[in-house]
């Protein structure tokens, strides 16, 4: 049959766009990151029973349906004023640690590592997981696939479905796990702990032992001084599932700890004419534009933000690695955006260790996983740490539990101001007048953006490659000088 040529074979609306404007002298004048927005989700939810939302929100995003599910079910707990039994909370956390491990493995091996293992300026045809496997060895590819499958299996068994979980209900979980399942999870968790250690060793050998990479990570173009926000437990240790939101300033000092339900007292949103997406900022510091430092209300969420906002990790191996990272990078807080990758691996260790702890918890197979709600539903906020940062769901219902209002702040939204600034800084540092902006240089600009593991409200699309990113360079007259799509 005739070959159909489609140009561009992609979703026109689905692009993330980085626009780089040059001035008359040919230097970078300004940069803009635009993220496509899906429309009408709040309206779609209105009038539906609130207990349906945990299942609906998994369709918001193909990358982290589990994070939305858990944030949502926690919001419905709050709407119904119900406290799930301890076994239900532990089971949710176990499920959630598996999700973190799954997501962090994908990001590191598929997206972060190729830039370092192959080199940021290397041939893009090689600069991917295939090139990584070719260089490091086929065995590593097998380990990546195996451990992702382990984490996926745990999520599917607890979640009730392979990708879009249905397990969480207001007041707890729809089913408990059996002893047989627990044993199986425990074996998988043990293997994940080993794999997470191996991943850090790989990072050590391939990245940290290379002076050039260390200076790239700590260098100015990838550094941004901001506030950091993350969930912490009662001991101020990182927790993905529950706790208090803690905010630290660019010097690493605690500014405030607050409950998720108080988020509107601390976070406000700034609007810019060139994008539909809003820019969250710290209300008490104020919006001072896209500027760094203590006087600017720009804050970040992310693996590194979590580590910066906490006093440490709640498991032993992760704590050792936490100490080592801060020692190596000159103390807390670390402002190096590329260190997000390192933090992500430390979190992979924590997620795996915590997973194993929960698998060994005597209560984890308890059949008591639900508290039946009895109060009249009204309003509630749920929060989790999504792999890429703080995720907040806020619902209001009528007295019958029908949804009247939905508000969400996803990690990529929290980071939207910071991502713009990181791109700007990298572009100004890398693109110089009179020098051609090569693919490698643009990749290095993109690295500033990819470190955030941005999730662009994507519609779980696959044909052919979902949500491409387009980088466009324009001259002072707005004409396109160069364009790079991937």
């Amino acid at each position: 049959m005739a070959k159909i040529s489609i140009d561009p074979i992609t979703r026109l609306e689905g692009h993330g766009k980085i626009e780089i404007f040059l001035n008359d002298a040919g230097e970078v004048e300004n940069t803009y990151l635009q993220i496509p927005e899906l429309r009408g989700f709040e309206k779609f939810c209105e009038g539906r029973p609130v207990e349906e939302l945990p299942r609906i929100v998994t369709r918001l995003c193909g990358v982290c349906p589990e994070a939305h599910h858990i944030a949502s079910v926690k919001a419905t707990d709050a709407v119904y004023h119900v406290d799930p039994p301890p076994a239900a909370k532990k089971l949710r956390e176990l499920f959630y640690c598996a999700h973190m491990a799954h997501s962090h493995i994908a990001h590191f091996y598929a997206l972060a590592a190729p830039d370092f293992v192959l080199g940021p300026m290397s041939d893009p045809a090689q600069r991917n997981i295939l090139g990584l496997v070719a260089k490091v060895g086929l065995q590593i590819g097998g380990e990546v696939i195996k451990h992702r499958a382990y984490a996926q299996h745990i999520q599917a068994v607890i979640g009730g479905k392979a990708t879009h979980p249905v397990c969480g209900i207001p007041g707890g979980m729809s089913k408990a796990i059996t002893e047989e399942e627990r044993k199986d999870f425990e074996e998988k968790a043990k293997s994940l702990v080993e794999f997470s250690k191996y991943s850090l060793k790989l990072f050590n050998d391939l990245v940290l032992s290379n002076k050039e990479y260390v200076s790239l990570i700590t260098g100015d173009i990838y550094t941004m001084k901001s506030y950091y926000m993350g969930l912490v437990d009662a001991n101020n240790k990182v927790n993905f599932y529950d706790g208090t939101l803690r905010l630290v300033d660019p010097d690493g000092k605690e500014v405030v700890k607050f409950k998720a339900s108080e988020y509107l007292d601390y976070i406000a949103e700034h609007v810019e004419p060139w994008t539909y997406m809003k820019f969250p900022f710290l209300k008490k510091v104020g919006w001072k534009g896209f500027t760094e430092g203590k006087d600017s209300g720009v804050y970040r969420v992310s693996p590194l933000a979590r580590l910066n906002a906490a006093d440490g990790m709640a498991t032993p191996l992760a704590q050792e690695e936490y100490d080592r990272m801060y020692k190596t990078l000159g103390g807390k807080p670390v402002h190096a955006t590329l260190a997000f990758h390192w933090a992500r691996l430390i979190e992979l260790v924590y997620a795996s260790e915590r997973l194993l702890e929960l698998c060994r918890d005597k209560e984890i197979t308890s059949p008591n996983v639900r508290t039946i709600p009895t109060a009249t539903p009204d309003e509630g906020v749920g929060v989790v740490e999504a792999p890429r940062g703080v995720l907040i769901h806020h619902y209001k219902t009528d007295s019958k539990g029908m949804v009247k209002m939905v508000n969400m702040i996803v990690a990529t939204a929290h980071n939207y101001p910071a991502m713009n600034m990181s791109i700007n800084k990298a572009a100004k540092g890398l693109i110089k007048k009179g020098q051609p902006a090569t693919e490698g240089l643009l990749n290095m600009v993109e690295m500033a953006f990819r470190a955030y593991d941005p999730c662009m409200a994507c519609a779980t699309h696959n044909l052919p490659g979902q949500m491409p990113l387009e980088v466009t360079i324009r001259n002072s007259r707005g004409e396109i000088v160069q364009q790079l799509s991937r």
Binding site: I9, E13, A110, T163, P454, C455, T460, Q466
Partner: protein
Amino acid sequence: MKTLVLGLGNPILSDDSVGCRVAAALKERINSPDIDIHEASVAGLDFLDVLTGYDRVIIIDAIQTKKGQPGKIYRLGPEILAETRHAGTPHDVNLATALELGRKLKLHLPEIISIFAIEVEDVTSFSEDCTPAVAKAIPECVEMVVEELQKPT
């Protein structure tokens, strides 16, 4: 020979759901122990979990092209995936990369890949309905897949 019919998309994002809808309709039509029909919203490396163990896969998905006519159905081969192999995604690898990795790791992956892509109009509004032209293409695409399944391989 084990065949997987895979409808891709987001079931509540207007036309993006079209692949899932075709798969759902096919479930009513096809009843064979050698053919599995799934609706999925998976990406990247997760594809390997879904595709492993099958000899043939028929993928049904939404597509948007420049000046495309909503409702038009394209029958595409696996070469279309290779053309976009290096299309990066913010969080994961694309299908072609995942397949190549899987093959290198000697996973049992489908040798025969065919794709039915339906030109869509609205993939950014949350709705349980497709736009009219796209809704009309669903039965047509169902017939095309049924025919494809009856072809000798």
